[in-house]
């Protein structure tokens, strides 16, 4: 009932300059979330400007022609709010959450930095140093991240998703004021953006502010070329990696999934929830609990706008042979193909879990704003943020089974094996005794 009342006040429009605007007033919320989605991400970069989407995210907190460097953040902090930004392969999002009343100033500042950023050599050089430290922190000095960066490159080859959204140190070093200005002029325009506001706002008054602040900005730039879908990409059949991880060997079998707006995307989402979304992982039950062939095993999924992936993995002490570990996984997937995990009851439970997660997100302004932004950019229409429950409910058991057969059982598998760089002598010598005592 409350949902219906709130939806009745939803405002959706596109300004003449192309800016898409969604305002969801909800007087029950104590904070206002604003998000500006620029439909450009690291996957839209080329060889000559790799790392720029993320570097640019940093530069957007610099000075504008009307505001000092850091003015945006200082304003938000001053009212007790929170602000941040995220660069993914598919988009760059500028987010803030503020107490009611501060949203008009946020919109003024977002409009200001959309076109009035002052790109200076001094600020760029400083941000390049900061981003380089971020890269050292996030990728160089964390073994798991190092492994993921290696895996991403080995798996995806020349696909635009192959590159870490933060770029490399060399990419960052190569950025110039001219290349940053070119990136800004190409992609930071109202016609490549979606403004989302959720919270206790007066929609008419806020819309007037939107028209006043963003309305005068000119249409411009270019629309980034779309990223090729992952499904159908020529992946390698497999590869091996080595990293400074704890002393386990990890066998992985994976397959790509279609893009977020595929016809059967909802069936795939329900499939993944029924299979891997509960507290009992069916692969763990087969490989670890029943067959005792690994220390850990499970199913993981990844979702990007232009495709995703499903991964079956097992981790064993480093005495087992790669071929054995892979065979165990193959046998477990064959067992899963009997589809004992898919019954009317498990299907209903999986759907309810998805609906429950949505109900929880419904309470938080930022999460609802993100749902709206994602629905627009990944699925093609904001309405998908509001009719998820009915779309989830409509998925049938046959559709889930068909998705399993098409994207898992009949997939061309990619096999990855990960080894640790250091194995303690006692495990090398006595690890083979492990099965005798388990």
């Amino acid at each position: 009932m409350l949902t219906a009342l709130i939806l009745a006040t939803l405002v959706q429009t596109t300004l003449p300059n192309g800016l898409e605007v969604t305002i969801l007033p909800d007087p029950t919320m104590p904070v206002v979330a604003t998000q500006v989605w620029y439909h450009v991400g690291s996957a839209n970069e080329g060889k000559d400007n790799r790392g720029l989407a993320h570097l640019f995210e940093h530069l957007m907190f610099g000075a504008t022609t009307t505001s000092e460097r850091g003015g945006y953040g200082k304003f938000v902090t001053g009212v007790g709010g929170e602000e941040n930004a995220y660069t993914s392969p598919d988009e760059t999002i500028y987010v803030s959450e503020v107490p009611p009343g501060a949203e008009n100033e946020i919109l003024r500042r977002e409009a200001d930095r959309m076109r009035n950023l002052s790109l200076t050599r001094e600020n760029l050089d400083n941000e390049k140093k900061i981003v380089t430290e971020e890269l050292r922190l996030r990728t160089e000095n964390d073994p798991t991240s190092r492994l993921l960066v290696q895996a991403q490159r080995a798996l995806l080859g020349e696909h635009p998703y192959a590159y870490d959204p933060s770029g490399s140190k060399a990419d960052v070093a190569a950025a110039t004021v001219a290349s940053c200005q070119a990136f800004y002029d190409a992609y930071y325009h109202p016609n490549n953006a979606h403004l989302v506001v959720v919270g206790p706002v007066d929609p008419e008054r806020l819309m007037a502010t939107v028209r006043e602040t963003f309305g005068p900005l000119p249409r411009g730039g270019t629309t980034p070329a779309d990223v090729p879908p992952l499904y159908g990409w020529p992946f390698p059949s497999g590869f091996e990696l080595k990293e400074d991880i704890p002393p386990v060997e990890v066998a992985i079998i994976g397959a790509p999934l279609p893009q977020a707006d595929a016809k059967d995307a909802m069936a795939i989402e329900v499939l993944l929830e029924v299979l891997a979304g509960g507290s009992v992982d069916p692969l763990h039950e087969i490989v670890v609990a029943r067959r005792k062939k690994a220390i850990e095993a499970g199913i993981e999924t990844i979702a990007l706008r232009r495709g995703g992936g499903i991964v079956f993995y097992s981790a064993s002490l480093p005495y087992r042979r790669k071929t054995t570990a892979m065979r165990v996984l193959d046998e477990a997937i064959q067992e899963l193909d009997r589809m004992e995990w898919l019954t009317d009851q498990t299907l209903a439970a999986g759907k309810r879990r998805l609906i429950e997660d949505d109900a929880d997100a419904f309470l938080f302004a930022a999460e609802r704003a993100e749902d709206i932004g994602t629905s627009r950019w990944w699925l093609g229409d904001t309405r998908f943020a509001f009719d998820r429950a009915s779309r989830i409910s409509a998925v049938t058991r046959d559709e889930v089974a068909a998705a399993w057969r098409a994207y898992v059982r009949d997939a061309k598998w990619i096999r990855v094996y990960v080894k640790p760089e250091h194995v303690p002598a006692y495990i090398r010598m006595f690890g083979w005794l492990y099965p005798l005592f388990s």
Partner: protein, 417 residues
């Protein structure tokens, strides 16, 4: 129509469930969800809990050999999380309102389960060993570990999370006996948040837990040892780690207990020094010269002292200059204090930011349970902010001169091997 003020001023309704159990409710009917948190008054800081492997006893109780309990939770679309904090063990439940009765029946069965999965206990022990080895390359863990070793004696429970963990207890009879005792201790609370009325919550709480008839054993309360005095602590501690390309610095002292009367002054001081993106540390170490990506302050807060840190990191070759800058910011802060503008900005931030943990009834319940766990009066944290707002710059700077005395701090460095 519900208005925003409803959650901002939400009341926590409380009642007596039985002689050893309280009930609490925060109503919110916007979504058909219910959160239930059951807290038992024994945590990892309890000597009894450690001696009896209570954390294992509590957290493995939903793992029966056939996963029947977890499968029931999955079928109900419910989550049941079991955890043990410093001062309490908690069962956290979330489900759709329509599934509440069946989910609470499942929760009762979890608390009565005597069939722990022995294979899972053995597997968990191997996993625990492997995860411990993984900590060797976790720079954040290693610096926190070095900090804990500076401040706490080996047997102090504040240090134990940073030392090699005990093996998982595999004796099921022992685990069951321990779990059975800990869930029968008086001092329990059943908290509800979400789409239910007081009458519904009271009905749900009745009979949910076994009688609270256990005699309180010796050693159940947290027992902490004295901190290593500042004069006896090493002033520096270096950790060498393989493959590092940066140095990580933590400038540590003992934290101020949350109920210390100086805490309101600390809230303002800490916000100005390292509590936000344009704090003194962020401006000096990141924005002014790009030495780092991150800088700030943090604490493992409680009503007893823990570790308070000002931290940052930078490329290895910049180690000396950034340490000098970090110390310089701290010294100037201690000597000169804050300005009136900074004081006003901090108060504005602290007041405005209160709305963020009032977005859901679950958040409000969590805050209430934390205050209760720490024996703080209800509304304590809001009151601290109001007290802070009455302090003058002079009063805050007097606190800063004392608390940020360089003689109280030690530095931890993680450096390339």
């Amino acid at each position: 129509m519900v208005v925003p003020a409803l959650l901002l001023a939400a009341q926590v309704l409380t009642w007596t469930v039985d002689a050893g159990t309280r009930g609490a409710l925060v109503e919110d009917h916007r979504a058909p969800l219910v959160v239930v948190t059951i807290e038992f008054p024994v945590g990892t800081w309890s000597p009894w809990a450690r001696a009896h492997d209570a954390a294992d006893a509590f957290t493995f109780q939903d793992d029966d050999p056939q996963r029947a309990l977890r499968k029931r939770a999955d079928a109900l679309a419910a989550t049941i999380d079991l955890g043990m904090g410093r001062r309490s063990a908690s069962m956290s439940i979330r489900c759709l309102k329509g599934d509440l009765d069946a989910t609470l029946a499942l929760a009762k069965d979890v608390l009565a389960n005597t069939r722990y999965d022995e294979h899972e206990l053995k597997r968990a022990q191997r996993e625990r060993k492997i995860r411990w080895r993984g900590k060797e390359t976790d720079v954040s863990f290693r610096t926190d570990q070095a900090g804990a070793r500076l401040f706490f004696a080996p047997e102090d429970p504040r240090r134990i999370p940073f030392e090699k963990p005990e093996p998982v207890e595999a004796d099921v009879a022992k685990l069951v006996a321990t779990r059975d005792l800990m869930i029968r201790l008086p001092g329990r609370i059943v908290g509800f948040a979400g789409d239910l009325t007081l009458e519904e919550a009271k009905r749900a709480a009745d009979g949910l837990l076994p009688a609270s008839d256990a005699a309180v054993p010796d050693g159940i309360a947290p027992h902490l040892l004295a901190l290593t005095p500042a004069g006896s602590r090493p002033r520096e501690s270096d950790i060498k780690m393989r493959k590092l390309t940066q140095v990580y610095l933590e400038y540590d002292r003992d934290s101020l207990p949350w109920d210390d009367p100086r805490r309101p002054a600390f809230l303002v001081a800490d916000h100005v020094l390292g509590g936000h993106f344009y704090s003194r540390l962020y401006v000096a170490l990141r924005h002014d010269a790009g030495d780092t990506y991150g800088a700030g302050t943090s604490e493992a807060g409680d009503v007893v002292p823990n570790v308070y840190s000002a931290s940052t990191f930078t490329r290895a070759e910049n180690a000396g200059p950034i340490e000098a800058k970090l110390r310089g910011v701290m010294d100037v802060f201690q000597e000169e204090g804050i300005t009136e503008d900074e004081r006003a900005g901090a108060i504005s931030y602290l007041r405005g930011n209160r709305a963020f943990d009032r977005q859901s009834a679950g958040q409000i319940l969590r805050r209430f349970l934390m205050e209760r766990r720490l024996s703080l009066p209800s509304g304590f944290f809001d009151e601290q902010i109001e007290r802070a707002s009455t302090l003058s710059v002079g009063e805050i700077n007097a606190f800063i001169r004392e608390f940020y005395d360089p003689g109280q701090f030690s530095i931890v460095r993680a450096v390339p091997e």
